[in-house]
C-alpha cells in the first residue's frame, strides 16, 4: 500500500517534470531523453522534519526527509507534507544529516539505537524516494554509537567523526585505602578522530590523541568534555576541532556547574595524518566552539570562521587564520552587530561570497511552546562584520531553531526552512548578495513538530 502510493507520487512527479520539459523544450530532442536529463540536472533540495516525541519541539518522534526540485522549492504554490509522506531516516534520535554539495546524495550516521554509528548513503530521487547506495560501515567502536560527525568540504570525499574519552587522574599519596590525603592531578582527555571515505564507505584513518590544557587550567579541574565540528583549513593540511570545556571540583571530583567560562579553544591536528595535536585559544571569544546540530565552522577565503556558544558576552564569529591560530585582530561580536544582548548562534552557513545566513536568539527572546526562546534569521557578512535581521520571514514566539541543522547553498542563494513548532511554514530563499528573501514552497506541519533544515 505504501509502495503503491509512493509510486503514484513518483509517477506524478515524473509526469510534472515531463510537462515542464515539454513546455520549455527545444523542438528536436526526444522528450524521454530530455526527461532523463532533467532528472539528472535537478538540484534537489531535501527538507528535514522532526516529529514530536512526547513534547513540542523535542524531535524525538523520528526524522523525516523529503526532496523537491529547486524550482518547486522556490515556488510558494507548492506544498509539501513530509510528516505525511516523507522518508523516515533510520535513526533512533534526531539524525545528523549531511548532503553532497550538489544535493544529490544524503549522508547519514545513525545516532544511537540499533544502527547507532552506522554510516549509510541515500540518493535523492524526489519526494520520499531515497535509494540506499553503497555499503554500510560502522564507526561505533572508534567514536561511539552516537557519533558527532560532519563532512569536510573537500568535494564530498571525506567525513570526520570525533569523540572524547576522559579519565580523572588522582595521586593517592601512597595510601590506596585513605581518601583524605588523595589529590586530584588532572583529567586526561583523549580525542578519537575517524576519517571516513564517503565515496567508498571505508575508514581512511583513525587516531587517539591526548589533548592537555595548561597546567593552571587543569589544576582547576577543566578538561575537554566534548569535541565536535572538525573543519579542514584552506591549505588542506590541518583540521580544527571545536571543543567544550567542562570542569570538576578538584576536591571531590564531582562535576561542577556554574563555573567560570574560559576563553574559546580549538584543537588543531595535522591532516590527514592526525598527528601533533595543539590547543589554540582565542582572546576574543569565550565559551564553546563545538556547536550543536549544525556545522559550526566554515572555511572562507583562506581562513576558517567559527561561531561560539555559551559566550557570556554573546556569540562571536572567530577567525582562525592561515597560520592555524586565532586571529585576534578579527573581532565580530554578534551582540554588537545585531544590536542585541546575549546573542546565541544556533546555526549558520556562508555562501561562497562570504555572506552567510545565521539563526540566532538573544536574551530578549521569549520562550515558546517548546520551552525554548524564539529564534530569528540574520544575514551576516564575514568581511564587513555586519549582521542584519532578515525581514520577510514571519517570526513568532513558537519558531525556534535550536535543533536546526542545515542550509542548502546553491550559488549565492541559501535555502532555509522556517516554521513555528506545530504550525505550517515555508522554505525561504535568501539571495545573499542582495539580502532579498523570497517565500518558497509551503511546509505542512503537524502538532508539536518542527522543520530542521534544508540540504
Amino acid at each position: 500500500m505504501k509502495n503503491q502510493s509512493f509510486n503514484i507520487k513518483f509517477l506524478s512527479l515524473a509526469l510534472s517534470a515531463l510537462v515542464l520539459t515539454f513546455s520549455c523544450s527545444d523542438d528536436d530532442s526526444t522528450p524521454s531523453e530530455e526527461e532523463e536529463e532533467q532528472q539528472e540536472d535537478t538540484r534537489w533540495i531535501t527538507v528535514a522534519a522532526a516529529r514530536m516525541g512526547t513534547n513540542p519541539g523535542d524531535g524525538n518522534g523520528g526524522t523525516l526527509i523529503y526532496a523537491l526540485s529547486k524550482e518547486d522549492a522556490q515556488n510558494p504554490n507548492v506544498s509539501i507534507a513530509p510528516f505525511d509522506n516523507g522518508f523516515i531516516v533510520p535513526s533512533n534520535r534526531t539524525a545528523r544529516l549531511q548532503a553532497s554539495e550538489d544535493g544529490s546524495t544524503i549522508f547519514n550516521i545513525s545516532y544511537a539505537g540499533d544502527t547507532g554509528g552506522n554510516y549509510s548513503k541515500y540518493l535523492a530521487n524526489g519526494g520520499q524516494n531515497f535509494t540506499p547506495t553503497g555499503s554500510e560501515i560502522s564507526i561505533a567502536p572508534y567514536v561511539g554509537t552516537a557519533p558527532r560527525w560532519i563532512k569536510l568540504f573537500d568535494g564530498d570525499k571525506t567525513g570526520c567523526a570525533v569523540y572524547v574519552d576522559t579519565e580523572h587522574q588522582i595521586d593517592d599519596n601512597g595510601t590506596p585505602d585513605d581518601a583524605t590525603d588523595d589529590t586530584y592531578l588532572r583529567t586526561e582527555a583523549k580525542v578519537g578522530i575517524v576519517l571516513l571515505d564517503l565515496v567508498n564507505s571505508k575508514i581512511l584513518n583513525f587516531k587517539e590523541l591526548s589533548v592537555p590544557l595548561s597546567a593552571e587550567e587543569e589544576a582547576k579541574g577543566y578538561y575537554f568534555g566534548r569535541v565536535d565540528m572538525p573543519t579542514l583549513n584552506a591549505a588542506g593540511d590541518k583540521l580544527y576541532i571545536g571543543g567544550w570545556l567542562r570542569k570538576v571540583n578538584p576536591t571531590t571530583i564531582e562535576s561542577d556547574s556554574g563555573y567560570e567560562i574560559l576563553a574559546a579553544k580549538s584543537i588543531v591536528v595535522d591532516y590527514p595524518t592526525l598527528f601533533n595535536p595543539e590547543v589554540i585559544t582565542s582572546s576574543v571569544g569565550t565559551g564553546n566552539t563545538n556547536g550543536y546540530r549544525s556545522i559550526n565552522s566554515f572555511e572562507y577565503n583562506g581562513a576558517v570562521y567559527q561561531a561560539t556558544q555559551s559566550d557570556p558576552n554573546g556569540s562571536h564569529i572567530l577567525k582562525i587564520g592561515a597560520d592555524n591560530t586565532y586571529d585576534d585582530s578579527y573581532v565580530f561580536s554578534l551582540d554588537a552587530a545585531l544590536g542585541v544582548t546575549g546573542a546565541y548562534a544556533l546555526a549558520w552557513r556562508p555562501a561562497a561570497n562570504g555572506k552567510a545566513v545565521l539563526a540566532y536568539r538573544h536574551d530578549g527572546s521569549q520562550d515558546g511552546i517548546s520551552g525554548r526562546p524564539e529564534s530569528y534569521f540574520a544575514l551576516i557578512d564575514l568581511n564587513a562584520k555586519t549582521a542584519t535581521k532578515l525581514e520577510g520571514i514571519p517570526y513568532e514566539i513558537d519558531m525556534e531553531m535550536f535543533q536546526y541543522q542545515s542550509y542548502a547553498v546553491d550559488g549565492n542563494n541559501i535555502y532555509l526552512t522556517a516554521a513555528p513548532v506545530g504550525k505550517n511554514g515555508n522554505i525561504y530563499v535568501v539571495d545573499t548578495e542582495t539580502g532579498n528573501v523570497t517565500k518558497g514552497a509551503e511546509l505542512v506541519n503537524v502538532d508539536g513538530s518542527h522543520f530542521i533544515g534544508a540540504w
Binding site: 509522506n85 516523507g86 523516515i88 533510520p90 540499533d114 561505533a140 567502536p141 561511539g144 571505508k202 571531590t252
Partner: protein, 812 residues
C-alpha cells in the same frame, strides 16, 4: 442441583437463623489450609441422620439438632474420610475439621479444586488473575513464560533465560508494576532470586492484580502488582525435578517439607539450580560479521555471551497447625547468580563479550499466621525479612567483537587496508559505552508486611495492613579512584504504607464490597560525603525528605445468578517519587526538588464473569474486563532539558500537567469437555496515549497493543499402562505487529521500525507413570522456528526442545 443446594446452604448460613434445639456449625479445611468446598458432612446417631456439604469457605451448618451424642463423618473426593464423636450439650456448638489430602488426586479433581480457589479470588470484584502453577511445574515452563501468557500481562525480555525482564500490566510498565514474593517487594531479594530463577514448583500460585490493588498488598503501584505466593501447606512431601534441553539449558529443583505430627514441628527446604548457555541462533538486522576492511557480511550467528547460572534455596523451621500458630517459620534465603550480557537495549552490530553481572543475597525471614487468634474471626499474619544483597557489574574488556564471536580486526595502518591487521579496541575501553566498570552495589534491605483481619460476622470484615520496606545502598567502583568513590552520593529509602479495608458481603452473598484507604509515608535520605574543615576526615551530610500521601479505592461484585457476576473496581493509585526525582543526580546534572508530588493514576475496571456453565459434559466460562488507566502529574524533566544540558545548566524533575492513558479490553474463555479436553483462550487489546502539557495527544510507540494466547490440553487415561496418564498440550501466542516509532500517513521507512506480527506455537506432552510419583514431560517450543521479538531487533530463542523428570513422594 448440587450447586443450587450449596448456594441455599450458604444463604441460610449467612442469615444465621437461630435453632430452637441446637445447631452445629464449623469449617472443613484441607491440611493445606484450603477450604474443602463440597465436602460431604454427615451427622448421625441412632435417631437421626442429616447430611450437608461444605460451602465456598468450607463452612457448614446443621440446625434443629436435639442435644445428644453424634458421629460426624466428613468425606471428600480429595481427602481421607474423617469420623469423630461429638457431644452437643449447649444450644450452639462449633467444630472445625481438618482433612488430610490424599496422595492420589486425579487431574479432574485438581481442576475442581483450583477452579473454586480461583473463583473465590476472582469474584471479589478486583481485576485479578490467579495463575496455578501445578501443571507448569511438571512441564518445561518458566515462571516468566507462565506470566506472559496471562491476559493483560506482557513481558519484554532482553535475551535468553536470566536476561533482564520488564513487566507491563494493561499497558503500564516499569515503575508502575510492583512484584512481590509473599507480599514482600521482590527487589528486596535482589536479582538472584527473581522470576527468572524461582521454579514454578516452589510457587503455590501467582496473583496478578491489575490497576486496583487490595489493601493487603498495598504499595505505590500505579499499574498493579504481581504477587508470587510460595508453597505453603503442612503436609510432609518431597518433590524433585530435573530438566535438560536446547542451548545446554539445565534446570533442577527440589522442595521438601516434613512435619512431625505430634508436635507440629515442621522443616521446609527448597533449592534450585539453573544454567543455560542461551546460545540460540539469531539472524537479520544488525547480525553481521565485520571484516578488517570494515565491510559487513550478514550471518546467522549463535549468541556467545548470554550464559546464565543461578543457584538458590530456602530453609525454614517452625510449627504448623499448632494451637498458637497455623504457620510459624523462621529461616534463611540465599541465592547467587551470574549472567553474561550479550548486548545493550538493542542488538547492534557490535555484540558484547566479557560484560557480566553477578548478584547474591542472604536474607533471614520470619513468618507467622494464625486464624481465630484470641477470639473467633481475628486473624493475624506477618511476613518479614532482613538481610543484604550485592550486585557486581563487570565490564573491563576493551576489545570489539563481531557476531561471529571473534575480535573485530582493523588494519594496523589504514592507508594500507590490505596489510597487517590488529584487534580493534573500543574507544571507551569497555563493552558498553561508559567506560570500564567493576561496580559493587551493596544494599542492606529490610521489609515486613503485617495484617490483622477481624471478621465481625459473615457479613462484615475489617482488615488493617502495614508494610515497611527500607533500602540502604552503597556503591563502590573499583575502576575509578577512591576519591571519586568516596564522594559519590548515596540514598537510603524508607517506605511505610498503611491500609485499612472494609469488606461487606450481603444480599445472600450476592453483593461483595471492599473499600480501602491507603496511607503512604516515604523517607528519603541523601548522603553527601564532604571533607571536614581541615580536610582530615570525610563526613556525611545527610538531607532528609519526608512525605506522606493518601490513596483510596474500592472493589465490588454482584452475582445476578450463580453464573453471572458483574465486577467493578476503581482506585486512585499513587507512585511515590524515587530518590533521583527527589534529590537529583549530580552525574546527570539534575538537582533536588523536595516539593515534588507523586504521580497519580485513576484506574477503573469493569468486567463480567459468565459461568461456569455445564451442559452434559461441557463446561464453559467467559470473563471479560474493560479497563481504563489515567496517570496524571507525570514526573519528568522539562521539555527544554536537553537544551539546558547543552549549556551545562542544571535541571530539575518536576510534575507536569501531562497524562498517560491506557484503555482496553480483556477477554478470557475456558472450555472443558468431559474433564479431559481443555481449551483456554485469551485476548487483550488496548490503546496507549500520551497527552503533553500543551494538550497534544500522541500514541505511545513500541508497545504491543493486541495479543492472543491459546492453549489446548488433552488427557488420555490409562495410556500404555493401566493407571498411567498422558497429557498433550498445544500453546499458541499471537502478538500483533507494532511500530518502534509511530508511522503516520504514507511515510516510507527502511522497514526496520516495524516489529512484525508474531505467531509462536509450542507443543508439549507429559506422562504420569502408574505409581504417580514420576512424571516425564517433553516440550517443543517455537516449533516453526519463527523469529520472535519482544522489542525491536532483540530476537528471542527459536525452536527448542526440553525434557523434564519430576519425582514426588507424599509419604515418608
Amino acid at each position: 442441583m448440587a450447586k443450587l443446594l450449596l448456594f441455599l446452604v450458604t444463604i441460610s448460613f449467612s442469615l444465621s437463623v437461630y435453632a430452637q434445639n441446637s445447631s452445629l456449625s464449623g469449617y472443613v479445611l484441607f491440611d493445606n489450609n484450603k477450604p474443602a468446598l463440597g465436602a460431604t458432612i454427615v451427622i448421625q446417631n441412632a435417631h437421626l441422620k442429616k447430611e450437608t456439604s461444605a460451602g465456598i469457605n468450607g463452612e457448614f451448618l446443621f440446625k434443629n439438632l436435639p442435644l445428644g451424642t453424634y458421629s460426624l463423618i466428613v468425606s471428600s473426593l480429595n481427602a481421607k474420610t474423617q469420623t469423630q464423636q461429638i457431644k452437643i450439650l449447649s444450644n450452639k456448638k462449633t467444630v472445625n475439621v481438618i482433612l488430610e489430602v490424599t496422595n492420589y488426586q486425579s487431574l479432574s479433581e485438581v481442576l475442581v479444586k483450583t477452579e473454586t480457589e480461583k473463583r473465590k479470588t476472582e469474584t471479589k470484584g478486583f481485576s485479578v488473575n490467579l495463575i496455578e502453577t501445578k501443571e507448569a511445574s511438571l512441564r518445561n515452563i518458566q515462571t516468566n513464560e507462565l506470566l506472559n501468557t496471562t491476559v493483560g500481562v506482557k513481558l519484554r525480555q532482553n535475551g535468553g533465560l536470566g536476561s533482564q525482564v520488564q513487566y507491563s500490566l494493561n499497558g503500564l510498565s516499569g515503575n508502575s508494576v510492583r512484584i512481590f514474593i509473599d507480599g514482600i517487594p521482590i527487589s528486596m531479594y535482589g536479582s538472584s532470586f527473581n522470576l527468572n530463577s524461582i521454579p514454578p514448583s516452589m510457587i503455590e500460585n501467582i496473583e496478578i492484580y491489575k490497576g486496583v490493588v487490595p489493601g493487603h498488598l498495598a504499595d505505590d503501584a500505579l499499574g498493579g502488582v504481581i504477587n508470587i505466593i510460595l508453597k505453603k501447606g503442612a503436609k510432609s512431601n518431597l518433590n524433585a525435578s530435573v530438566s535438560y534441553g536446547s542451548f545446554n539449558t539445565f534446570q533442577s529443583s527440589v522442595n521438601g517439607l516434613h512435619r512431625f505430627d505430634k508436635t507440629g514441628f515442621t522443616v521446609k527446604a527448597s533449592g534450585f539450580y539453573n544454567a543455560s548457555d542461551n546460545d540460540y541462533k539469531v539472524w537479520g538486522g544488525q547480525v553481521k560479521h565485520i571484516e578488517a576492511d570494515g565491510s559487513q557480511v550478514p550471518i546467522t550467528a549463535r549468541r556467545f555471551n548470554d550464559a546464565y547460572r543461578s543457584v538458590g534455596g530456602m530453609f525454614q523451621v517452625g510449627y504448623t497447625n499448632v494451637k498458637w500458630a497455623d504457620q510459624f517459620f523462621i529461616g534463611i534465603t540465599g541465592s547467587d547468580d551470574y549472567k553474561e550480557v550479550q548486548h545493550g537495549a538493542f542488538m547492534t552490530i557490535h555484540p558484547y563479550k566479557g560484560r557480566f553481572l553477578e548478584s547474591d543475597a542472604l536474607l533471614t525471614n520470619l513468618s507467622y499466621q494464625k486464624k481465630d487468634l484470641f477470639v473467633k474471626g481475628l486473624d493475624i499474619n506477618t511476613n518479614g525479612l532482613i538481610g543484604e544483597r550485592n550486585r557486581i557489574v563487570n565490564d573491563t574488556t576493551a576489545y570489539a567483537y563481531t557476531w561471529l564471536g571473534v575480535r573485530q580486526q582493523r588494519p594496523v595502518d589504514f592507508s594500507n587496508p590490505d596489510g597487517e591487521t590488529m584487534d580493534l579496541e573500543n574507544a571507551w575501553g569497555s563493552q558498553q559505552e561508559g567506560g570500564p566498570t567493576l561496580l559493587n552495589i551493596n544494599r542492606k534491605v529490610a521489609s515486613i508486611r503485617s495484617g490483622i483481619t477481624y471478621e465481625i460476622n459473615k457479613n462484615h470484615k475489617v482488615l488493617l495492613n502495614h508494610i515497611y520496606s527500607g533500602v540502604d545502598r552503597e556503591d563502590h567502583d573499583e575502576m575509578i579512584s577512591l576519591l571519586e568513590n568516596t564522594f559519590k552520593q548515596t540514598s537510603n529509602l524508607h517506605k511505610n504504607i498503611y491500609s485499612l479495608s472494609y469488606e461487606l458481603t450481603t444480599f445472600n452473598n450476592k453483593l461483595k464490597f471492599n473499600v480501602f484507604g491507603k496511607h503512604y509515608r516515604q523517607k528519603v535520605e541523601r548522603i553527601k560525603p564532604q571533607f571536614n574543615d581541615d580536610n582530615t576526615q570525610v563526613v556525611n551530610d545527610i538531607y532528609t525528605s519526608n512525605k506522606h500521601y493518601n490513596g483510596y479505592g474500592f472493589a465490588s461484585s454482584y452475582s445476578f445468578t450463580t453464573n453471572f457476576t458483574l465486577l467493578a473496581s476503581a482506585e486512585r493509585a499513587i507512585r511515590l517519587p524515587n530518590e533521583t526525582e527527589v534529590f537529583g543526580d549530580a552525574g546527570d546534572n539534575t538537582v533536588e526538588n523536595t516539593s515534588i508530588k507523586p504521580e497519580i493514576s485513576n484506574n477503573i475496571n469493569v468486567g463480567f464473569r459468565f459461568g461456569k456453565f455445564n451442559f452434559n459434559k461441557h463446561e464453559f466460562l467467559v470473563t471479560t474486563n474493560l479497563f481504563s488507566r489515567k496517570i496524571q502529574d507525570l514526573i519528568g524533566l522539562p521539555p527544554n532539558a536537553g537544551d539546558r544540558w547543552e549549556n551545562d545548566e542544571l535541571v530539575q524533575y518536576n510534575n507536569f500537567n501531562e497524562e498517560t492513558t491506557s484503555k482496553g479490553i480483556e477477554l478470557q474463555l475456558n472450555y472443558t469437555y468431559n474433564k479431559n479436553l481443555g481449551f483456554n483462550f485469551n485476548l487483550s487489546k488496548l490503546s496507549l496515549e500520551f497527552k503533553n502539557q500543551y494538550g497534544n495527544v500522541t500514541d505511545v510507540p513500541n508497545t504491543p497493543l493486541f495479543t492472543i494466547n491459546g492453549a489446548l490440553r488433552y488427557s488420555i487415561k490409562n495410556f500404555i499402562q493401566n493407571k498411567a496418564s498422558l497429557n498433550l498440550f498445544y500453546n499458541t501466542y499471537f502478538t500483533d505487529e507494532f511500530s518502534y516509532i509511530i508511522v503516520y500517513g504514507n511515510t516510507r521507512d527502511d522497514g526496520r521500525n516495524l516489529v512484525p506480527t508474531q505467531f509462536i506455537n509450542d507443543l508439549g506432552l507429559s506422562y504420569t507413570f502408574p505409581k504417580e510419583n514420576v512424571v516425564l514431560s517433553f516440550d517443543a517450543k517455537n516449533i516453526f522456528n519463527e523469529a520472535a521479538y519482544d522489542n525491536r531487533s532483540v530476537q528471542k530463542p527459536g525452536r527448542a526442545f526440553y525434557i523434564k523428570l519430576n519425582y514426588t513422594i507424599n509419604k515418608f
